[in-house]
Amino acid sequence: MDHKEYKSCLLEQIRNSVKDINQIAANETFEFFGNCVPQEVVKAAGNVYITGCGDSYCAAIATKPVFENADTSTKTGMVPGTPTMAYRNIEYSRYHDTYRGWNPLLNERNLLCAISISGSPARPTEAAERINAHGGTSVAFTVNKEGNLAKASKYVIPMTLPSYGLAPNVTSYYSSVFSLMMFGFYMSRAKGQLSDEQALACREGLLEYVNSYDEAVMERLSKEAFDLAKQWEADGVDNMDFIGDGPDYATAFFGSAKMVESFGGLTTNDDSEGWCHVNFFIKDTDHIGTFIIANEDSPAFSREVETANVACSIRKHVCVITDADPSIFPESATVIQVPKAKRLWMHPLMEHIPLDFVAGYIGCFRDGKPYRNGEEPHCKDAEAKRFRQSRIEII
């Protein structure tokens, strides 16, 4: 079978991603954000916290640089923006400043971006209630305007997403990433860190990058991912590890989550240095697949190339996702080249696509049910009470 003949909700999401992002962008203009969150509010934000669970946490890591580095005219953008932390949800809602004590003088300047597409998990709602209780501002990024998160938050960014049926979610990830990036530009514009023209240029540059994943590119990525998935499947690869640094770590984390959701394979994710210290020693080197996300403009690129060399020296299945020249990497690695973004911080919006394709194709090969839907014992908590009905505690 040709790769195009495979169909699933996950593959459909990936194949429509460029069109869907453009649709989302048409709705989410600076005016849209201005209607949701007044300029004075974002202007007053001294510290930004971004949090969410699962994919939403990946979106937080991916977009942190946009808030911190308002002047994105340089490749990496190392100029002052707004201090930003990307927090694991449980850490924000239970541990942030719990041991230090909250400073009432600074609380008003704290702004929390809580991401949850469905708006139903307890933890993002708890995070919003916590920051409200301490005098800060909560902004919900959600589709569900009537959900718990939206009700608990002071402001709501009502996202719109096309719906695709039960599948590992890619649409929600890239829409969260896009919305947060736009919100970051909006904040910088309000604070005067970006002029109107610069903010518009950032948005247009981002969309230009999205559209660089044109039909030909998507076809190539799909084919290469399909070939990789087929080969690895034939070789018995069931477990995978993912390596990425900085914002690319978000892509690594996201890719690893998609594998688990799609076919239940065991995955880990780490940065390049941590991998060399620990995961290097995994014994079953013939049946583990290693993905490395390595973009040429990343300050950690040299380390990622070294890590690829180390991985190839002991492992049979190494794949590098990169915008660099494939010849830099060892011959034994499969290199999937992605379009180059003008700015490093743009990459997380699209560079996960090859990983999503791999997850989608392996899911198809195994006829597996995404999220182990209907399978024992996972179906015992089909309603996801484990995170929807978790007790909220405001610390």
């Binding site: 669970c53 699962g54 946490y57 911190e68 580095n69 190392m78 694991r88 949800n89 449980i90 850490e91 239970r94 541990y95 400043d97 041991y99 230090r100 004590g101 477990n239 640094d245 900085g246 688990v260 959701e261 076919f263 239940g264 394979g265 065991l266 880990t268 940065d271 390049s272 240095e273 941590g274 060399c276 210290h277 620990v278 290097f280 020693f281 995994i282 014994k283 079953d284 080197t285 300050p299 950690a300 040299s302 380390r303 070294e306 890590t307 060399n309 180390v310 020296s313 002991i314 182990r372 014992p377 996972h378 908590d381 996801a384 484990r386 995170f387 978790s390 007790r391 505690e393 610390i395």
Partner: protein, 381 residues
């Protein structure tokens, strides 16, 4: 089967914990008292960084720094610190950081790179190392020599992990004392309790060894281990996961209690995955982790719980290691990794696999042996 036939390094290191903690305590305390007061007062932020176990020690000690010094503390990974972190965090007002860099050997390239980056921007640096003439020590303003004897057994790292963590705790206490965040009474009490707590834990070693050996016999055929812990306990979870790989090269993963419910819950064949949960009754997410344990019960995975809460708090089917409560909650990571270290050690011994794939050539070729020490060092401006 007699567990004495399956002696291993991690079990031996656990037995020697009390001895090495006292050695390190006596070694580092006088050095820490020499750290200049002005630079301690200057610090508006604290960064603790390292690679592997050293980084985990930083994550584990973060709660201690926050509780005792009340200073914003971060524990980024070394590559994050040296290549990605915004440079405005690295020098002078309003951030004026104190950066603590950990490397037992003092030769890890990335950590040295972090030190050089700090020097470029003027951040105050303290190296924690066992090698006071190492490149790391040379690139830092102050060095704390951990003082572990050269002839000790330290691989896989458990003693070194404890040594780094203890040194961090003592640095935090000194900062807290000088900046009047803790009273002299509290300072004296915390110092006493650190040693007393380790002693109480050491008394349980025999019990842990017996149970760990029993569990290892059941767990050695599982396909993977999955670790769960929040905040400081996340460090213990990550550490346990690292030991699985180092000791017998097994498959493993780790996450916090919330994210686990969103992602790792969906791993297939849950009955073949051993789950290890670390939680303490005084932590803010105790209730949440207990909910996660209920979800593990639904999946039917074999599960080890390491906690200072009573066994009765948890489902009967779970293997519970009840550890002594510490006088101060942030001390727990110092000893809480020990029960699973022993399980991992026994699994490795039962499988007959050497730690760090000692006898497997492909891991110890030129590239493998130099993967941490060599490599381009870049100072990001």
């Amino acid at each position: 089967m007699d567990r004495k036939d399956y002696e291993n390094s991690l079990v031996r290191q656990a037995r020697d914990l009390k001895k090495y903690v006292n050695i390190v305590y006596e070694s580092v305390l006088p050095q820490i008292r020499q750290l200049p007061v002005k630079e301690i007062f200057d610090a508006q932020k604290i960064f603790i960084t390292g690679c592997g176990d050293s980084w985990m020690a930083g994550v584990a000690a973060k709660a201690c720094f926050e509780a005792v010094t009340k200073i914003e503390t971060y524990a980024p990974k070394a590559v994050e610190f040296s290549r990605i972190l915004n440079n405005k965090n690295l020098g002078y007002s309003p951030n004026t950081p104190l950066v603590i860099l950990i490397s037992y050997s003092g030769t890890a390239a990335r950590v040295i790179e972090c030190a050089k980056r700090c020097a470029r921007y003027g951040a105050n640096t303290i190296a924690i190392t066992n090698n006071p003439s190492s490149p790391l020590a040379e690139n830092c303003r102050y060095t704390i020599n951990v003082g572990l004897p050269a002839d000790g057994e330290y691989q896989p790292g458990a003693t070194t992990y404890n040594a780094s963590m203890l040194t961090l705790f003592l640095i935090a206490l000194r900062i807290g004392r000088i900046r009047n965040r803790i009273t002299p009474l509290e300072y004296e009490d915390m110092n006493r309790e650190l040693l007393a707590f380790v002693e109480r834990c050491a008394e349980k070693n025999e019990e842990y060894e017996t149970r760990a050996f029993e569990i290892a016999q059941k767990w050695k055929d599982l396909k993977a281990e999955d670790f769960i812990g929040d905040y400081a306990d996340y460090a213990t979870a990550f550490f346990g996961s690292a030991k699985v790989i180092e000791v017998f090269g097994g498959y493993t993963t780790y996450d916090d209690s919330e994210d686990w419910c969103h992602i790792n819950y969906f791993l297939k064949e849950p009955e073949k995955i051993g789950r290890v949960v670390i939680l303490n009754k005084e932590t803010p997410s105790f209730g949440r982790v207990k909910e996660t344990i209920e979800a593990i019960k639904v999946l039917g995975s074999p599960c080890i719980i390491v906690s200072d809460a009573q066994k009765e708090e948890f489902p009967e089917t779970m293997e519970v290691f009840t550890v002594p409560s510490a006088g101060y909650f942030w001390m727990h990571p110092l000893t809480q990794h020990i029960p699973f270290d022993m399980v991992a050690g026994y699994i490795g011994a039962l499988k007959g696999i050497k730690a760090f794939r000692e006898n497997e050539e492909k891991y110890h070729g030129e590239i493998g042996n130099n993967r941490l020490k060599s490599g381009t060092q870049i100072v990001i401006v």
